[in-house]
Symmetry: C2
Subunit: 361 residues, 2 copies
């Protein structure tokens, strides 16, 4: 296990934390130096048109000389906006979410906003506590992907009542009347299934999760529709419900084999469950994709490292983050004007890899 070994004084010197009498310089210091007032300095720094070019130049120069660093806290307090935005995700520790955050950050930083990240750990109390903490930190708004178990939404609706911008992404709900960004899970399910059919499969198993989360239902709906559109009768006994983790995929695959049903493909609504199934199939000497074609969902980074590489549906997480941030700033900038919550639906893309590619080889 990871232990903490402490070594002292490597090639470090003992150092004394000197609070440095160099008190940070403020606009008042600049003002004093230039024999003008702080208000003029403030305006000059903000490029206010009422300030002469000469003064502006002088202020900017002196600011540089004194190594002036603006205190955003003071400005935030006065202006009532902090240039901070909060992001709540179930966990940061998943490729999908960290990529979304990356997208959000890109857009936010460009607009000179900073991002505060918090994790709900799929726990509603945690989610509420974390939201309050963000509000206390006076974030200018919040972007959220709600937890699996979140079934009350007052805390979010309160935000909206207070006029605090809120955007939901990926894990959304219609119980909250605000802008949201999702991918078209239905389409993703449809594309995946259609692809399998085109590969010649017609006994397609589906792994899904029927809990409250919308996304799986939509993928399932896409699966059904693709079958229908291609004249393939739906067979309920080919649908396996589980928690969609790797072990669940293994379990479903084992049940499937035990059932002796015929099947020539599996469309798993999760990459993890797909990998579990892949393992079981290989253990049983079932050839992928020749005996059974396999498609996952999410295009997790590991999908290209499995053997065979796993066909999957990309959700474009970075783009989702960007879109969410853009939606967010639209709300932020529409203050006091009428504002219509909008739903941004991103198009998923089927990433075809060997696990489902029968022809050619």
């Amino acid at each position: 296990m990871a232990e903490h070994n402490l070594f002292y004084g490597f090639n470090f010197d003992i150092c004394i934390l000197q609070k440095m009498n160099s008190k940070k310089t403020t606009i008042h210091d600049i003002a004093k130096e230039l024999k003008i007032t702080a208000s003029t300095v403030s305006r000059a720094l903000n490029n206010n048109p009422r300030i002469s070019e000469a003064t502006k130049k002088a202020v900017l120069g002196m600011a540089k000389d004194l190594n002036y660093q603006p205190n955003n806290l003071a400005a935030a307090l006065r202006k009532g906006k902090s240039q901070l935005i909060g992001v709540i995700v179930p966990t940061i520790n998943r490729s999908f979410f960290s990529s979304v955050i990356r997208g959000i950050e890109e857009v936010a930083n460009n607009l000179n906003y900073r991002v505060i990240v918090s994790q709900s750990n799929e726990d509603i109390d945690n989610e509420i506590a974390t939201l309050n903490a963000l509000l206390n930190a006076r974030v200018d708004g919040v972007l959220v992907s709600i937890g699996k178990n979140t079934n009350r939404f007052e805390h979010y609706n309160n935000l909206i009542e207070k006029g605090i911008p809120l955007v939901l992404f990926d894990r959304t709900t219609n119980e909250i009347s605000t802008s949201q960004v999702v991918i078209d899970d239905y389409l993703g399910g449809y594309l995946a299934t259609e692809h399998l059919i085109k590969q010649g499969c017609n006994k397609i198993v589906h792994f899904t999760n029927l809990k409250q989360v919308n996304i799986y239902k939509e993928r399932y709906r896409g699966y059904l529709e693709a079958l229908k559109d291609n004249g393939i009768p739906f067979n309920q006994s080919l649908v396996y419900e589980s928690n969609m983790q790797l072990v669940d995929g293994r379990e479903s695959a084992e049940k499937l084999l035990a059932s002796k049903q015929e099947f020539d493909a599996i469309f798993s609504a999760s990459d993890y469950a797909a990998v579990g199934a892949m393992q079981v199939l290989k253990e049983n000497n079932i050839k992928i994709p020749f005996d059974v074609a396999l498609v996952g969902f999410s295009n997790e980074p590991f999908t290209s490292f499995t053997d065979p590489p796993l066909t999957s549906v990309s959700q474009f997480p970075i783009e989702m983050g960007q879109a969410a941030a853009e939606s967010f700033f639209e709300i932020l900038n529409s203050k006091k004007k009428k504002f219509i919550p909008q739903k941004t639906v991103l198009q998923p893309e089927l990433i075809i890899r060997d696990s489902s590619l029968k022809e050619g080889t």
Copy 2:
């Protein structure tokens, strides 16, 4: 590609952003209501011993009634500390870093601090800009994993001079005299190599990167030492240098095969390069681990999904984040006292999987 389709008015109502006359309540509101002063309210909320229990109870009750939310900005401005800490990583979008952040967050949130995350994208200018942005946001300190190309460190040394707590983790340097948290890469390299030797290998290839980054050098050193300790002569032509991504691993493996050298194992200092090698070996019908045993480094999540699963060295990223945060708060709390920068070295662990396990099967 992901397009943005905008649908209006799904089951959303048009909603007007009402700045809600409900101005946020402040301690003054509570004070007025209770006919006491704001200072008393402030002290009561902070559980100051000079305030009577009765008053405290009244204040707390009224605070709840009025739905009071403290304004951390105001407190931060006055107290000169924001309860915000900044984290800079090359990218958030990598399992290792997002896990470290998770660890940092856990500790920080418990102490009522929020974490602001920023990415440097391995670019030094970006790193400096992002650091300044964090300072302007008045973070109480910073935790950093420095970029690959960062070769100047004044911006960090400035922090230290100003007495702003700084902790380095994983990607560190001795050019900055502050606390740091790393794993023992040397030991990781040693363990990996030793394990291969114990499996009966004695012609062990090593994939490494010889750039400025310390971590690869240390792993290499561990490799050399393990060879030496086991009486295996070092063969320079078995060492392949590259950028350590998947394609680089492929390339190195191809060169290796083309060289016709004999080898019975590969220790790659990166999981990605290891997977690249795995692909090439399999394409050449070389059996893993029977013909060639394979070990990676980092224990990326995908290592358990490859075929065969890849033996690797775990760096315990969450624990690293926790240790970094603990180090950070030690500095923060040692203010004005003498403070000795300390180096925390975490022990890595070899996670043995099938790619290197010759016996048994």
